[in-house]
């Protein structure tokens, strides 16, 4: 592959003469919003597979969206891989990303295609994970608390000061939680739930997975997070138990988008197709990423939460991913929930 590029480069050079444009070293600027080691794995994997040099930046999905927005009049990135779907949907809505229909689409799960279509094909699902919570068994026992199994269990007064979730204003995970609760219980009852939960929350963290990490280290008891994040802590040996709430739950679709007007659009498309391949997606297990991958034939870990056995709600990505609805819910949460005394 590398050799072919070089030959192609040499031929073009010869054809165009010294005055012509030259082929710069093939490269790709890759924004990654998944966990660091997974990002690294994708970058080196793509370099090995194609010989294209990858420049990677890892930032959370919110940070990346902010960066792409800031760079909109002069895009620096080519492809954005990973991170929860909402910021990708938002980028699509704001016209920051490019529509693309990959030849790999036939191999993907329906939820992935569905999400892509709802965004005008400007993004595509690469993995999905269900929302839930995890708790630290030792601390639970030390405090003589019952084991929670449902969303509503978390409202019990004995959990006061033991529950942690991220602030939906700063974290996509927490926004997904808010949207899930609203869809699950209806808006009015959902907000009553959030108000009740507020009394038991010991801290609204900034980052989405922080609550379960704190629980793992014994700094917190129950953390509301994506279940794959909780599984990861359990697999790392921390005394974490993962719960799929009995009422049913929402989920995220980790996504990938091509950045509009990018500098290396062809390489970006190459990466896009490559990242949807089954063998590439199966490598997520190497870095303990326990999400369900979007390629139907990609392997998943036995420890990963089985999406089939979890009661999933019919999450409306179009509605709850839109800027207007997000702003409305966040404002309502800010005004009615976050200002309440604890």
């Amino acid at each position: 592959m590398k050799l072919r590029c070089r030959i192609a480069g040499a031929v073009t050079l010869a054809l165009m003469g010294s005055a012509g444009h030259t082929i710069a070293a093939e490269k790709l600027t890759y924004y990654c919003s998944a966990q660091e080691d997974w990002c690294q794995l994708m970058a080196t994997g793509f370099e090995e597979a194609t010989g294209i040099k990858v420049n990677m930046t890892r930032k959370s999905s919110g940070e990346t969206l902010a960066q792409i927005k800031a760079e909109a009049s002069n895009p620096k990135g080519d492809v954005w891989w990973g991170g929860t779907g909402d910021p990708h949907m938002q980028a699509a809505e704001e016209g920051l990303t490019e529509a693309y229909e990959s030849p790999m689409r036939a191999e993907l799960h329906d939820w992935s295609i569905g999400q892509s279509e709802s965004a005008g094909n400007k993004t595509i699902g690469i993995y999905s994970g269900a929302l839930g919570y995890g708790y630290n068994e030792e601390i639970l026992k030390a405090n003589n608390l019952p084991e929670p199994a449902c969303w509503k269990d978390l409202l019990k007064p004995e959990y006061k000061g033991h529950v942690q979730m991220a602030n939906p204003n700063s974290s996509g995970t927490a926004y997904t939680t808010l949207a899930t609760i609203v869809q699950l219980f209806g808006e009015d009852e959902g907000f009553e739930f959030m108000k009740g939960l507020h009394k038991n929350i010991n801290q609204y963290t900034k980052s989405g997975s922080a609550p379960i990490k704190a629980a793992a280290r014994g700094e917190n008891t129950i953390g509301i997070v994506f279940m794959h994040d909780a599984v990861k802590q359990a697999v790392s040996g921390f005394p974490i138990k993962v719960v799929a709430p009995c009422e049913g739950t929402g989920y995220e679709i980790g996504s990938m988008s091509l950045i509009k007007d990018s500098r290396n659009p062809e390489n970006a498309q190459k990466f896009y197709d490559w990242a949807l391949q089954a063998d590439v997606q199966s490598r997520s297990l190497e870095v303990k990423a326990f999400q369900v991958m979007s390629n139907k034939t990609a392997e998943s870990s036995p420890q990963a939460p089985d999406l089939a056995s979890i009661k999933l709600i019919d999450y409306d990505f179009t509605k709850y991913g839109s800027s207007a609805e997000r702003k409305r819910l966040l404002k309502k949460w800010d005004d009615e929930v976050s200002t309440l005394p604890r």
Binding site: K76, D86, E219
Partner: protein
């Protein structure tokens, strides 16, 4: 006429620079960077790499053609005996060139005309341009110095070409890299989400309840972020001042034998990367922390999350910033002339009375200084609140999450940044007002033989006790940090291991020789390179500024000083936000490069270089410069040959400080790092986010040792000669 020929020579020099910029160097910024030299392939015809002259010759970017006029205009008058005409033409050439250069840069951007009315006026352009490259920068420099040389030829500052040029240069870079970004940020605070200017939006955002709410006074919920920040900063300022004073007294007035060790210990937090102290505090005082668990066990209490929030941030910031107060106060305490105290004691005052009525009033300005430093540092601190903040939100983290959080509101970030800036600037201004008015000089250089008296007992014992507790605490924290790098998983499995160091810093051998396999090497080398580049630049800019401030007199000097010191009061998060807003688009397109990191360090740390330079330069007798000038040397030569060599300690201070800051800074850096230029601190924050405390701590420990060795290295490079001896010698010679 001596200076006239000098002026002509200067014009020739800058014309050559300008010609190189216009005819030889690539005009636009190079995507792969200049020093990759990929541009040589295709140069000089490829339109991405071509110099301006080659672009125009090919019929491209014709709007660059008029720039050649002001560039060559001075040819008309060079060597002309008519000073008036000479200077007028130079000023015209310089200012017209600069104006046109920036006007075209701002008018034509990445998508053609930047403003609609331009398209209406000139018709659609159908072309675009990227940011300034080396060619444009050189031309810009040439125009700038045309202008200053012209001004000098007018007779401004005795017609001194070097001094006027230096002033012009410093003003320009401060304007571009401090005022321009801040102005951009202000304008973004005034716009709503669709980019329309609206005062109402600004007022609404500014007066938000989340910022100014006072609910914490009456109910059980949080106050606004502005109050939180202010309250925290006041406590931290006061506490660090008290602790710093205690240490300073113990080090100088107690006859304590190991005061050198004490000094070394207090320097440690300055070279500690952010988060590390926060992490250590969680490991000690968190819900499952060693000390919390122990206390809970002994007292039979339920352990709690008390450390998250104000208490945690407070402890961490006191650990981090007490050394700064100490360094300020030790100078002040040592600086109090012993003869004053001796006089008091000769008059039969008791030690306590002397301390209370003589020593203490004399160190008061030092206390104010230390307080304000602690205040500003606390306001600007980002790492500790991030790790330990709990529900206690402060401005610096709130700014960060306004930009990166799900709400993604640049306008709100800008508004919060303005509030933060108002607080720090007020403190900065208050400090200058308060200290500027009184004189506390007791050392007059007239034979201060005596040695300092000891502290009175009733001050000494409390000082000893507080200092010992603090020392034990600091040692424990650092012990934890070092230990934390060697255990498998904190809080779970305390088996000793080198695993984290191997993951981060493994080195292997492959076909090409040494191969740096560890995951941290990449950011490590980048950090080292950038810190090592920024340090000398900071020292140069700082010392030139100090020279101008101490040795030269010119109109608007106060404003000049204020402008150069301003960046000290601008918190890193604000710098980060404003740099992104200002430098992402042509003509100054710097985001994603290493240059933007270097520039941000140079301008953030410049005030320290200036201060160090001023302090050491005021000690040099002016007769030294005068002797050199009388013997016919130019000011530049005098600066280089006489002043610079005598300022080694100041150079060292500036070098060390900016190097250390560049390695440990996080708040601005986190906005400015990119794929190719990732810094150590931003790598560490990623590991912390991922619960990989082991690697984060191992990396930080390594950085601490790297910085220690770098400080020693700088000392060897710069500090070989003592300044005292040549100084006294020359003094006696002159006198």
């Amino acid at each position: 006429m001596l200076s006239a020929s000098r002026a002509s020579r200067a014009v020739w020099l800058w014309m050559i620079v300008g010609l190189v910029g216009y005819f030889i160097m690539p005009w636009y910024i190079l995507e792969d960077g200049f020093f990759s030299f990929e541009w040589l392939d295709g140069y000089p015809f490829d339109t991405d790499y071509a110099p301006a002259a080659f672009l125009i010759a090919q019929g491209e970017k014709l709007w660059l053609a008029p720039l050649v006029l002001p560039l060559l205009l001075p040819l008309v008058v060079i060597g002309n005996k008519d000073r008036q005409r000479f200077s007028t033409l130079l000023i015209i050439a310089g200012s017209a060139g600069l104006f046109y250069l920036f006007a075209q840069g701002f008018a034509i951007g990445i998508r053609g005309f930047n403003a609609e009315w331009l398209g209406v006026l000139f018709g659609e352009l159908g072309d675009r341009q990227f940011g300034f490259g080396y060619g444009a920068v050189l031309l810009c420099v040439a125009f700038l110095f045309y202008l200053t040389t012209g001004v000098a030829a007018r007779g401004y500052i005795n017609g001194d070409v070097f001094v006027v040029g230096a002033i012009g240069f410093i003003i320009s870079i401060v304007a571009i890299f401090i005022f321009f970004p801040i102005a951009q940020m202000l304008s973004s605070a005034l716009r709503d989400n669709d980019g329309v200017y609206s005062l109402a939006v600004f007022v609404a955002k500014f007066s938000e309840n989340k910022i100014w709410g006072l609910a914490c006074l009456s109910e059980n919920r949080g106050c606004g972020v502005a109050w939180n920040s202010l309250f925290l900063a006041v406590i931290v300022g006061a506490a660090t001042t008290v602790l710093g004073l205690v240490f300073a007294l113990v080090a100088t007035r107690s006859g304590f034998r190991y005061s050198n060790w004490l000094r070394a210990l207090t320097v440690l937090p300055i070279i500690t990367p952010p988060f590390v102290i926060g992490l250590a505090i969680i490991l000690l005082f968190g819900l499952s922390g060693t000390i919390t668990q122990w206390v809970a066990g002994v007292l039979d209490l339920q352990p709690s999350r008390w450390v998250y929030g104000l208490p945690g941030i407070l402890i961490a910031q006191m650990l981090s910033f007490t050394p700064i107060a100490f360094l300020v106060l030790i100078g002040v305490v040592e600086g109090v002339s012993p003869s004053m105290e001796e006089a008091s004691q000769t008059l039969r005052a008791s030690r306590w009375h002397t301390f209370k009525t003589v020593t203490f009033p004399l160190i008061r300005p030092g206390l104010a200084n230390a307080f304000l430093l602690g205040f500003i540092e606390s306001m600007a601190d980002f790492g500790n609140p991030l790790v330990l903040g709990g529900n206690y939100d402060v401005l610096s983290t709130e700014i960060f999450f306004a930009i990166v959080g799900a709400q993604n509101d640049q306008g709100r970030a800008a508004v919060l940044a303005i509030i933060l800036l108002l607080f720090t600037l007020t403190a900065f201004y208050a400090q200058r007002r308060w200290l500027g008015r009184k004189s506390y000089i007791t050392k007059t250089g007239k034979g201060d033989g005596g040695s300092h008296s000891l502290m009175p007992r009733r001050v000494m014992w409390p000082c000893y006790i507080i200092a010992s507790i603090w020392v034990i605490f600091t040692v424990t924290v650092y012990g934890m940090i070092i230990y934390g790098g060697f255990v498998e998983t904190w809080g779970l499995n305390h088996t000793l291991t080198f695993k984290h160091y191997i993951t981060a810093f493994a080195v292997g051998v492959n076909d090409f020789g040494l191969h740096f396999k560890g995951s941290a090497w990449d950011s490590f080398w980048t950090t080292l390179k950038i810190a090592a580049t920024a340090a000398p630049l900071t020292a140069i800019v700082g010392l030139i500024t100090a020279y101008l401030l101490v040795r030269q007199n010119f109109a608007g000097k106060q404003w000049f000083e204020f402008g150069t010191m301003l960046s000290f009061a601008i918190p890193g998060t604000v710098v980060g936000v404003s740099y992104i807003l200002a430098f992402n688009v042509p003509p100054l397109e710097l985001t994603g490069t290493g240059i933007i990191l270097i520039i941000s360090f140079v301008f953030r740390n410049m005030p320290v270089g200036v201060r160090a330079g001023i302090a050491s330069m005021s000690q040099l007798d002016k007769s030294l410069d005068e002797a050199s000038l009388t013997l016919g040397a130019s000011t530049w030569r005098t600066f280089r040959k006489v002043i610079l060599p005598l300022m080694r300690p100041a150079i060292l201070a500036a070098l060390v400080f900016s190097f250390v800051r560049a390695m440990t800074a996080i708040s601005a850096v986190i906005f400015l790092v990119s794929a190719e230029y990732n810094m150590a601190t931003s790598y560490i924050i990623g590991r912390v986010e991922n619960n990989d405390y082991g690697i984060a701590i191992a990396y930080s420990t390594t950085l601490i040792f790297v910085m220690l060795s770098a400080i020693l290295l700088f000392q060897l490079l710069v500090g070989k000669t003592q300044t005292t001896r040549p100084l006294t010698q020359s003094r006696t010679n002159v006198g």
